[in-house]
């Protein structure tokens, strides 16, 4: 269950150019995290920045929790400066997990850029559930790809410097043309434009598809109403918006309208 933890950083690595892997020790978070959930981290004990920063729980290793991030602004810059032994104020695990259980045989993981973050954890859970997993990983160029704990990884880069040239959704489409997959379920995370393309593809081929969203968040715990995503009208009652932090970040693509 979500709680506020003062944890100690156990390691900080720049695993690829501009891509940071931070590990912190938290038995509770490690043991209770479900794939697709996130933590909300206070990057400064002052007010610069004021708000916490949300990060997907990328992987769990014993009592260690891993997050994967790149430097966007003030908060991630401060986070990248954390060193082993520093303490961190972490709220989590938060949010609704991916549907890693249930009626499907093959998980098709589709990640764009930093969207890979939540999938190492998902893969390990899919493994326990004895699901087939194929991972499609897209990035702007090779330097951003770092070998993750993902099964059957297929790579796509905008410049073709690694794997196929083009988008990861095109890569997925080609794969499905050439391979027979039984009872697939797509799991997607990445930039909105990519999620949009993935959602269109999945619905056109009416495949099950879950997307993990990133919206601006003030609280991450349902207090501020600041993180709405539009629902497909009529669907799930008549509320127009769902909250990404408490009703997501993982959603069925057919339930939501990406903007």
């Amino acid at each position: 269950m979500a709680a506020q933890h003062i944890v100690s950083v156990s390691s900080q690595e720049e695993v690829a150019d501009g891509l940071f892997l931070l590990r912190f020790r938290s038995k509770q978070i490690a043991q209770t995290s479900l794939p697709g959930q996130f933590v909300n981290i206070r990057t400064s004990d002052g007010f610069a920045p004021f708000l916490r920063r949300p990060f997907s729980i990328s992987r769990v290793d014993g009592e260690l929790v891993e997050i994967l991030f790149n430097i966007v602004g003030a908060g991630t810059r401060l986070l990248a400066e954390k060193r082993s032994g520093d303490t961190l104020d972490v709220l989590g695990p938060l949010g609704v997990s991916f549907g890693y259980r249930g009626d499907f045989d093959t998980a098709l993981i589709v990640a764009g850029g930093l969207g890979v973050a939540p999938f190492p954890l998902l893969s390990s859970w899919l493994q326990r559930e004895e699901k087939q997993v194929v991972s499609f990983i897209g990035a702007r160029s090779a330097y951003q790809l770092y070998r993750l704990h993902l099964r059957n990884p297929q790579y796509a880069t905008d410049d073709g410097s690694t794997g196929a040239k083009g988008t990861v959704v095109e890569l997925l489409a080609r794969y499905l043309d050439n391979h027979r997959v039984t009872k697939p379920r797509i799991f997607g995370c990445g930039p909105t434009r990519m999620l949009q393309a993935l959602s269109d593809f999945a619905q056109k081929n009416n495949m099950e598809c879950e997307l993990s969203l990133e919206g601006d968040m003030a609280c991450g715990i349902g207090l501020c109403q600041g993180c709405p995503v539009e629902r497909v009208s009529g669907h799930n009652g008549q509320k127009k918006y769902a909250l990404v932090c408490t009703e997501g970040p993982a959603f069925q693509c057919r339930d939501i309208i990406l903007s």
Partner: protein, 314 residues
Amino acid sequence: MAKQSFKLRDVEFNNRVLAASGTFGYGDEVKHLVDVNRLGGIVTKSLSWKPRDGNAPRRIAETPAGMLNSIGLANIGVHNFIDEKLPYLRQLQTTIVANIAASSVQEYCDVLSLLDTQDGVDAFEINVSCPNVKEGGLSFGTNCEMVREITAQLRALTKKPLILKLTPNVTHISEFARAVEEAGADAVSVINTLIGMAVDIKTRKPKLSTVTGGLSGPAIKPIALAKVYEVAQAVKIPVIGIGGISTLEDALEFLLVGASAVQVGSINFVDPTAGPAIAEGLAAYADKNGLHDVGQLVGAMDSNIEFSVLQSWL
């Protein structure tokens, strides 16, 4: 141990630190993270007659030492509140203040009348920073006679404590405070958010879907403190100080300038335990300073300059 509680009419608050409207949901979202009974009270998200979806995304933008929001008063509506939230709130040991928003004077009256009959609703806070549809969406809160009128009509409908929450986006907030005092309000909450905006340089679009939104957080604390001081000098009814309060020191500043209680808002998003921590800090501070009641700090600022000259020669 120094006395922490205070009263509005015959309603007692455990202590002088409440959770501000819209920053603590309906009190149940964080029950696992914080013992809400250690708060002096919980002010609910603003309630309107019908459920409100709220504004389109993007609703939040961070700013230096603060944040902008344009939630659009998204709320479940007063009926769902009574059915889904009140049963939980009713059994808490803290005071429940129902905050009301509306787009017409009639709607204010309807929501309050309905809630007034509900066991578990201890007091009302009226959010007048809402657009008056009759006036083409201009905020009730910037029209002094309108705020007086709302107060008078609501006063006639309830014997429970009636708190008017004032907007800082006016020239002389003390005029509004006097008006609601005359119209029978039991207290005023000062302040709601300040109008602000931010632009995304990359897209050249406003960061918020509504272009402007409400500024809150530590950045506005000096402004809020001046408004609370101005109001506390102008009226006899209690003033509830709000605006950027994040630490014990912040809360002390507000009490010293004349706030009888405070509300913590945006800091709840960063640390939902801030409110109880500040409440206990106030009690410890009072003990350390040999006070028998935290209330002795109210208006205890050491200054002989009254407000009138304060706008001079900035």
